[in-house]
């Protein structure tokens, strides 16, 4: 059996989604901002050419954006999520096994495609995805996932590759390894890159020449896996079912600083409901939860406050009627008057499968009632939207909610937001 993987990566995904429904922005610089319009999280090629870096805070580049006529969007995850789903649907026509690695990247298993011209297959993907969905992609193909990732990166950078690079010839693989800086290798990162440079390891190729004992010593066993993959020995298989998360965190910065406990309670209650919903979705329960509350990190001395409180539950639960009151109690315990708060959130831990719960002997026997109620809530919210059924404490004002100055319409998921044609 020969292994072969393709990594299909959407080009400047969020910016491409925005541009699809605004074709007049073709070849114009576009940036997309993070939640709360904090910093740049996506750039079109034209915006990259202006020197705008990922993660730059909005306030630092406001002048530049205005001067160069950069089109600025707040992030619209409803739109990006639907476009991502469409891309994956198309990709699943090109391989029976697709791993959705992130919102804009998928691995395809092309192993045992014996009588298929792989370069032609990869080119077909490269051509078809933008035609069908409007989202341009780059395709990298190689014997291991780590090499496919590397091929994809070069496919985007190299003019000659033009978006498709198949790395199967040993000479090509060697050239690609030499052309890739060690920090750009999947799973290595900048921190290790610095350390490796002191040993004369600068490119991916340098690393593959090091003995296993060296790699194990300096990069741990995980690093050894990466090196083997770079040498063409597959160690990382497709993950078809995403592993259950070991802890789930739901938090948001407020749209404006908040001082009143009741406003913060609205936010935390909403996060707790989200968090419980996520737990139920992966069919697990949490044994404990932590609530945190923070002011801005950039205040003067005396104006800053950070605190958190962990609550262990009587028995693991995924019920909002258990998690939300516990979270609110923890919040009230750490809330101090007189601060301008910026963020609150909830983290649930001690996650176990819902089927393996040890009931507390003091439990009021409400588990069955809660399970039925939660199922009803889940199906209601799935059909009518998450805000359909709320608790009183979640409020209606939403003073805490995000500021999204320039969020685009949800063109593909809301009837009121469809594009209009004359």
């Amino acid at each position: 059996m020969t292994s072969l993987f393709a990594l299909v990566d959407c080009n400047n995904f969020y910016a491409s989604c925005e541009r699809l429904f605004k074709p007049d922005l073709a070849e114009k610089p576009i940036v997309v901002l993070s939640n709360n319009d904090g910093c740049v999280i996506a750039r079109s090629n034209e915006a990259k050419a202006l020197g705008i870096k990922m993660g730059t805070p909005l306030f630092e580049i406001r002048d530049l954006l205005a001067r160069d006529g950069v089109h600025v969007f707040s992030s619209n995850y409803e739109l990006y999520g639907d476009m991502s789903r469409r891309v994956v649907l198309i990709l699943s026509e090109y391989s029976p096994n697709v791993e959705v690695y992130s919102i804009d990247e998928s691995f395809l298993d092309l192993g045992n495609f014996l009588h298929v011209d792989i370069h032609r297959h990869a080119s077909a993907i490269w051509e078809r995805v933008p035609r069908a969905t409007g989202i341009p992609v780059a395709v990298g193909v190689a014997a291991t996932k780590t090499l496919a990732k590397l091929a994809n990166r070069l496919a985007k950078k190299s003019r000659k590759a033009n978006g498709v690079l198949v790395l199967t010839e040993p000479a090509h693989i060697q050239a690609a390894l030499k052309a890739t800086e060690i920090g750009d290798v999947w799973g290595v990162g900048r921190r290790y890159a610095k350390k490796l440079a002191t040993f004369g390891v600068h490119t991916a190729y340098d690393l593959t020449r090091k003995p296993d004992s060296f790699v194990k010593k300096h990069l741990t066993i995980v690093g050894l896996r990466t090196v083997k993959e770079l040498r063409g020995e597959p160690c990382i298989d497709l993950e078809m079912v995403p592993p259950s998360k070991q802890n789930i965190c739901t938090s948001r910065s407020f749209g404006q600083p908040l001082t009143d406990l009741s406003d913060i309670e609205e936010a935390l209650a909403t996060h707790a409901v989200r968090c419980a919903t996520k737990l139920r979705k992966q069919k697990s329960c949490a044994a404990a939860l932590t609530v945190f509350l923070e002011t801005s990190r950039f205040g003067q001395a005396g104006q800053m406050y950070f605190n958190n409180r962990t609550v262990k539950l009587d028995s693991p639960s995924a019920s909002e009627l258990v998690l939300m009151p516990a979270a609110l109690e923890a919040l009230r315990a750490i809330f101090r008057k007189g601060f301008r708060y910026k963020k609150t959130g909830i983290i649930v831990t001690g996650i176990c499968p819902a089927g393996q719960i040890q009931e507390s002997i003091f439990s009021a026997g409400t588990r069955e009632r809660d399970t039925g109620l939660m199922q009803a809530l889940d199906s209601l919210r799935e059909r009518y939207g998450h805000g359909t059924v709320k608790y009183g404490v979640q409020g209606t004002e939403g003073k805490w909610q995000m500021q999204s100055g320039n969020v685009s319409p949800c063109y593909t998921t809301r009837l009121d937001d469809l594009i209009k044609a004359w």
Binding site: P23, R85, R128, A132, Y384, T413, A421
Partner: protein, 152 residues
């Protein structure tokens, strides 16, 4: 079967959203079953008619667009109709297409003539002269209109 009965009134809008989504469907009729007697129809059960698949077999490349204006009324496309647009088709002469021209989306009949490509309105009114497209700057093809959804 009961779980598949979708009440029509409270979700008037969401009901449309499922047109481009797989796996949801609108049963055309429902029936109750008397306890105790197996239904004679059990062996003949079939999936309810699925308007999504009827509208387009390609949910990944199908988009809904709201029609504004009367430039295509003679082609049976009325204001407020929802046009069903498939991006994944090569536009052919005579197709009704969605294009982006002059800063806006437009639905017109595509005419591939020897000298150029034209986007032609179909209406009694003469306020919509054919749009000549010579270069990508003049206009951009977006998708082929494969159907119309109209609600009275």
């Amino acid at each position: 079967m009961e779980a598949a009965i979708i009440p029509l009134h409270p979700i008037e809008e969401q009901r449309f959203l499922i047109i481009i989504d797989q796996g949801n469907s609108l049963p055309l009729f429902t029936t109750t079953v008397q306890a105790g007697f197996p239904s004679p129809a059990t062996d003949y059960s079939a999936e309810p008619i699925d308007l999504n698949t009827y509208s387009s077999a390609h949910p990944a490349s199908t988009f809904l667009v709201e029609v504004v204006g009367e430039s295509m009324v003679k082609a049976g496309i009325m204001p407020k109709d929802l046009a069903i647009v498939n991006r994944d088709l090569k536009p052919k002469d005579g197709n009704i297409v969605l294009a982006f021209v002059d800063g806006g989306f437009t639905i017109k009949r595509l005419r591939l003539e020897k000298d150029a490509t034209y986007l032609v309105a179909e209406t009694e009114s003469d306020s919509f002269p054919p749009i000549r497209v010579d270069s990508p700057e003049d206009g951009m093809f977006w998708g082929v209109v494969v159907g119309i959804h109209r609600k009275y």
